[in-house]
């Protein structure tokens, strides 16, 4: 035993008595994913994640908390050209004016004016939104790429999006002690559908295989304490895209996306909390001593080009005795 102990020490491992919380454990306010969907002419979302100048990008987030409701997710953003290392440089006064205002005393037009002023300062929206104009979205300026070379316009640049999620406490007030701050890039380019300049589209988890069998999306799965399930998310065939890439030598390469999955849960544990498309399945175990009546599992897929999607699965726990 001494041998293995010392050998582990050699490898830089240590005996850890106090475990830190793990990223896949949902025990606080978390933003697990952000969906950026380019709107079509009707304002409806499409599966395209990469926008062109003048288009609108609709934003939504997967925000979770193990016990509380997320009171709100505040969205801000700006083009990369006006961002510093960590995010957007904004005019806080214009944004504060929106939140300090007594909305109920304002007319719709006054609310809209306040919104437009805040939006000009970087405000993108709010979740949950009561008015359509509060829906988080990016109005990509028509001239965003004008200063780029034509080849650079095809590659595009990023729009930086920042979010702050805050839960509500039991009395319905915002709990600032448990907020989550997140950032994401949304690519804006002149790429249009079809090779060689395919703009990125969000992947999509079509369904989930549980122990090798297709599970109906949106329906809970019965389970008992101590159960272990093999989870394998299945993507739609269109999820893994081919795209063109100009390498450093100026040569064009056709590449294929390599999406990967991240797994999260409110209870239980995974053998590995992530998987690649090539190794998609993971084992999810429900603790023998769990007292949960319902356990949530979220699977988020990312295509490494900014596209993502998620899937929620609920396990209803039946105590055997």
């Amino acid at each position: 035993m001494a041998l293995i102990t010392l050998a582990i020490g050699m490898l830089g491992c240590t005996i850890e008595r106090e475990q830190l919380s793990q990223s896949w454990q949902i025990d606080r306010t978390r933003i697990l994913g952000v969906l950026a969907e380019v709107a079509d002419e009707t304002g409806s979302p499409t599966d395209r994640a990469e926008a062109s100048p003048g288009e609108t990008v609709l934003l939504s987030s997967l925000h979770v908390h193990p016990t509380q409701e997320i009171g709100g997710v505040f969205w801000m953003g700006c083009a990369l050209t006006s961002a510093d290392e960590f995010g957007c440089e904004t005019d806080p006064e214009a944004i504060e004016a929106l939140f300090d205002a007594d909305i109920e005393t304002l007319s719709f037009e006054e609310q809209l004016a306040l919104y437009e002023e805040a939006r000009a300062a970087g405000f993108l929206g709010f979740e949950p939104y009561s008015e359509a104009f509060l829906q988080p979205q990016i109005q990509v300026p028509e001239d965003l790429l004008d200063e780029l070379e034509p080849s650079e316009q095809l590659e595009g640049l990023s729009y930086i999006v920042n979010m702050v999620a805050t839960p509500e406490n039991k009395s319905g007030e915002m709990d600032d002690s448990d907020t989550e701050i997140a950032t994401k890039r949304v690519v804006v380019s002149q790429a249009v559908d079809g090779l060689p300049w395919t703009p990125n589209h969000n992947p999509k988890i079509q369904y989930l295989l549980i122990d090798g069998e297709q599970h109906v999306p949106g329906t809970p799965r019965s389970a008992s304490p101590g159960d272990t399930f093999e989870l394998e998310p299945i993507l739609t065939t269109a999820s893994i895209e081919e795209y063109s890439y100009i390498n450093r030598s100026g040569e064009e390469e056709i590449r294929q996306e390599e999406p990967w999955f991240a797994f999260y849960t409110t209870d239980g544990f995974f053998d590995i909390p992530f998987s690649l498309s090539e190794y998609s399945e993971v084992d999810f175990s429900i603790p023998k001593e769990t007292v949960s009546e319902s356990i949530q599992v979220w699977i988020v897929v990312r295509d490494r080009r900014g596209g993502m999607h998620w899937h929620e699965q609920i396990f209803e726990i039946t105590q055997d005795n």
Binding site: R17, A182, T183, R185
Partner: protein, 874 residues
């Protein structure tokens, strides 16, 4: 008359006669005498008439007291012959003269048993008078050879006594003895000498036969075969602490490693668990230099930092120079560790084998040729953790194979030139992999096994010659290669090879008895190649865009570099007693040229002085400039022709040494070091291809006070107490308005070490070490911002750089050893327990995924190590 003089036993302050009932196997506590009294002047007693007429012969047993001058101050009869002969012996006893007995403190009074014999001349029946060549002697009928157990070394000056007849003698230089006229029959033979276990054997003398016997005596001393003699070296440096191999092997927590012991000396900070870096006086690990026989090597530890890369059995000493060292050492801002190998092999061929829980190794050494003038040694070692680890990792899907090896081959011949050839090398590798269907991360480019390898091979010839009493030379050419490789998956691959030629040539000229001039050259040159394969371009990474497409890149280069450093060192001892004052002045020119990359030139003037203020008190001081070239990766850019220079340190120290008796010293020393032109990352870097990644913009300051109270290992006890109070700070970009000094990553304000070892009866040893060290600084973080695209958090510092510290470090380490000595071999068994009491110590800080929680990564709570070393003399 022939008086027989038999010294049977010697006891300091002990007048008890020997116990004839003692069993041969009973343990004899060796008296603490270092030298026995020897008879210098014998006085013949007149033979009493009555005894003469009666023909009485025999021995009078006397117990006599000898004072510190060798004079007999008291005598009494403990075995009577006849009253007349007893009186005659007592009368002349005060006139006998001896050399005084000695212990570690010098001459000392003792009491000895002394047999005064009376023998009649058979021819005349008168009192026999000693005659040189006319005495008729009985034939030799009993002879023997006395050898030391295990080493098989002949033992001289061993007392030989036939107990019943009280006939005695001593072994000669070859370990042989012979006795004449031993009465026929059975006798008890006793072999005795302080420091060796008393041996008794039954022998039978038969008529007309020469009885021969070979006897094996066990050495009860641990120190007999170990390098006590190298403990004190000439004190040329202001601070040179020499560690003998004997000390090293007794210090717990060092695993018998001569270099690990340095962490217990003043000025040496504790490296984090498992890293084994040399952290000397607040300098980076790469700022300190390690030499083997004058040739620099890149690493001194195997993987994990537990074992040095050189067989400890082949080392003679390890010199530790934390600062203020002379111009013969260069290209370093920190300290120096100068390892000297043992040149000579024992007369008796020796094979040793050591095994512990990490590795096993063997050593053979001996002498070849007619006169044994060719000393050879060969040693090798290999770890076997990689062979055993799979057993423990079975069914985990993880494969982890750490392994190392090292080898040494040494030849030495002393002729007109003192020639030592040394070939040595080592290799370390670590292979990590998981089952193919288990992803190691979310990045497809990094799927696959990880492998690290580094190795060094060197060959050197050390040539020394004394042309006259005033002039000698030393030449050490060497050639070797350093290899390093790192691979991860199919796209990460970094390889680097360096072929090195190092030559050190040094002369020593004494134009005047008080003046010593040492010119020398320390040449370092060679060729390098490296290849780097990455799944992304470093240039692209500057943008840190997780959605940006990555492109595998590979680049490499080959080239050469060289640097002939010349130095001149002058030592002057101007006072009548040369030990009273030593002034040393030296100058070193440092040049490094990496072809097509950069050239740097430095000038290192250094001064030091030692002065004996009082009989046992020395003051010492030093001042000097130290320069160091950039690390290889810092001095290279794709386009070449980079603007980078030496790092520099201006150093000064002042200290005092006080001798407290023969074996105890107290040292105190204060030091200050001003660092400038430190190589730091270029804060304005935007393009790796066209801009320098590193610039000489950093500065630093290091200051402190060191103290050490040390008891030398001259007897059964050794130990020291060491304390360092220091501060090491850095400022990275003062030219860009950076004013915030921050503590060095391994800045440890208080370093306290107390250790001691003792030899116990029955060949046991025990030692212990206690350490208290201030925790390392670290930069605190809080509030990570979630990067949704990468599924990772970016942390923000919540304080200044290195503004928090890990908890203080405490450790109590224990070691015990047992030596078993057999006829032809010896076995040492040991148990070494690190951190025996305190439990875990924080080594690093670890945060959770979003930096809202932190926890200490702790060292192992208790590390046991056990093993053995067997030595066989062939």
């Amino acid at each position: 008359m022939l008086a027989l003089l038999l010294t049977l036993s010697v006891h300091a302050q002990d007048i008890a006669p020997p116990n004839p009932e003692s069993s041969p196997t009973e343990e004899a506590e060796p008296p603490p005498l270092t030298r026995l009294p020897e008879l210098l002047e014998f006085v013949q007693a007149p033979y009493p008439q009555t005894a003469l007429e009666a023909g009485t012969e025999g021995v009078v047993g006397l117990l006599i007291q000898i004072d510190a001058s060798g004079a007999v101050t008291q005598a009494e009869v403990i075995r009577s012959l006849t009253p007349e002969l007893d009186a005659a012996a007592l009368e002349v006893a005060p006139q006998l003269r001896f050399s005084p007995a000695e212990d570690e403190n010098g001459p000392t009074p003792v009491m000895i048993e002394f047999d005064y014999g009376f023998v009649l001349d058979s021819a005349t029946n008168e009192a026999a008078v000693p005659q040189d060549d006319e005495t008729v002697e009985a034939p030799v009928n009993f002879e023997g050879l006395v050898l030391e157990m295990a080493t098989r070394r002949p033992l001289a000056e061993m007392g030989v006594l036939l107990v019943e007849t009280e006939i005695s003698t001593e072994t000669d230089a070859d370990g042989r003895f012979s006795l004449r006229g031993v009465p026929l029959g059975k006798h008890t033979l006793r072999i005795a000498r302080p420091g060796w276990r008393t041996l008794e054997r039954q022998v039978e003398i038969t008529e007309n036969e020469l009885v021969s016997i070979e006897l094996w005596v066990k050495n009860d001393s641990w120190t007999e075969d170990e390098a006590v003699g190298v403990y004190r070296k000439a004190r040329e440096e202001v601070t040179r602490r020499t560690i003998s191999v004997q000390e090293v092997r007794r210090i717990p927590g060092t695993f018998g490693d001569p270099v690990r012991v340095i962490q217990n000396l003043p000025g040496a900070a504790r490296a984090p668990f498992g890293s084994g870096g040399l952290l000397i006086r607040g300098a980076n690990p790469e700022d300190s230099a390690v030499y083997i026989d004058g040739i620099r090597i890149p690493l001194i530890y195997h993987l994990g930092g537990y074992v040095s890369v050189f067989n400890a059995d082949l080392l003679e000493s390890v010199d530790y120079l934390p600062g203020g060292y002379g111009v013969q050492y260069g290209r370093s801002l920190g300290g120096v560790v100068d390892v000297s190998t043992r040149k000579e092999s024992p007369e008796q061929p020796r094979l040793s084998w050591s095994t512990d829980i990490l590795d096993s190794g063997g050593l053979f050494e001996g002498r070849l040729g007619k006169d044994g003038q060719h000393h050879v040694a060969i040693a090798a070692r290999r770890s076997y953790v990689d062979l055993l680890l799979p057993t423990f990792l079975k069914n985990t899907g993880v494969t982890a194979l750490p392994r190392w090896y090292d080898y040494q081959l040494r030849y030495h011949h002393k002729g007109i030139w003192d020639v030592t050839a040394l070939v040595f090398g080592f290799g370390d590798s670590l292979f990590l992999s998981t089952d193919p269907d288990i992803p190691q991360g979310v990045d497809a480019d990094t799927q696959g096994a990880a492998e690290i390898f580094y190795g060094t091979h060197r060959g050197l010839v050390n040539l020394e010659r004394e042309f006259s009493d005033n002039f000698s030379m030393r030449l050490v050419p060497s050639f070797g290669v350093d290899l390093a490789e790192f691979g991860l998956g199919s796209t990460f691959d970094i390889e680097q090879d360096q072929w090195l030629i190092e030559v050190r040539a040094e002369a020593n000229w004494r134009p005047h008895p008080k003046v010593e001039i040492i010119p020398g050259v320390d040449f370092l040159g060679g060729w390098y190649t490296f290849n780097v394969g990455l799944p992304f371009s470093p240039t692209m990474e500057l943008d840190a865009d997780p959605t940006q497409e990555r492109e595998p890149v590979s680049f490499g280069d080959d080239g050469s570099g060289w640097g002939p450093d010349f130095y001149l060192k002058t030592q002057i001892r101007p006072l009548a007693d040369p030990d009273d004052l030593l002034l040393t002045a030296g100058m070193r020119t440092s040049i490094v040229t990496v072809v097509d990359q950069y050239t740097a030139v430095g000038l290192d003037p250094r001064f030091s002085a030692r002065h004996r203020l009082f009989e046992n008190t020395w003051v010492k001081g030093s001042a000097g400039i130290y320069t160091q070239p950039p690390q290889p990766f810092e001095g290279w850019a794709p386009e070449g022709d980079i603007d980078i220079d030496f790092e520099q340190a201006a150093s000064a120290s002042l200290g005092v040494e006080q001798s407290l008796g023969q074996a105890t010293t107290l040292e105190m020393e204060g030091f200050y070091k001003d660092l400038s032109d430190l190589v730091v990352e270029n804060s304005e870097l935007t393009d790796y291809n066209t801009q320098a990644s590193f610039v000489n913009e950093g500065v630093g300051r290091i200051y402190g006070l060191e103290a050490m109270l040390r008891r030398d290992p001259v007897d059964d006890f050794f130990g020291w107490v060491s304390y360092t109070l220091s501060r090491s700070e850095r400022l990275d970009h003062p030219k860009h308005g950076d004013t915030q000094w921050y503590p060095f990553d391994f800045d440890q304000t208080h370093i306290f070490v107390a250790l001691a070892g003792v030899e116990l009866p029955r060949a046991w040893r025990a030692s212990g070490r206690f350490r208290y060290i201030t925790g390392n600084p670290y930069t605190p973080y809080e509030l990570g911002v979630y990067n949704v695209d990468e599924d990772s958090y970016t942390a923000f510092p919540s304080g200044d750089p290195n503004s928090d510290r890990l908890p203080d470090f405490y450790s109590l380490d224990l070691r015990t050893e047992k030596r078993l000595t057999f006829k032809k071999w010896r076995l040492d068994l040991y148990v070494d327990v690190l951190n025996a009491v305190r439990g875990e110590n924080a080594e690093y800080v670890n945060y959770n995924y979003d930096y809202t929680e932190q926890r200490w990564i702790k060292g192992l709570p208790l590390i046991p190590s056990f093993g053995f070393e067997a030595e066989i003399w062939l």
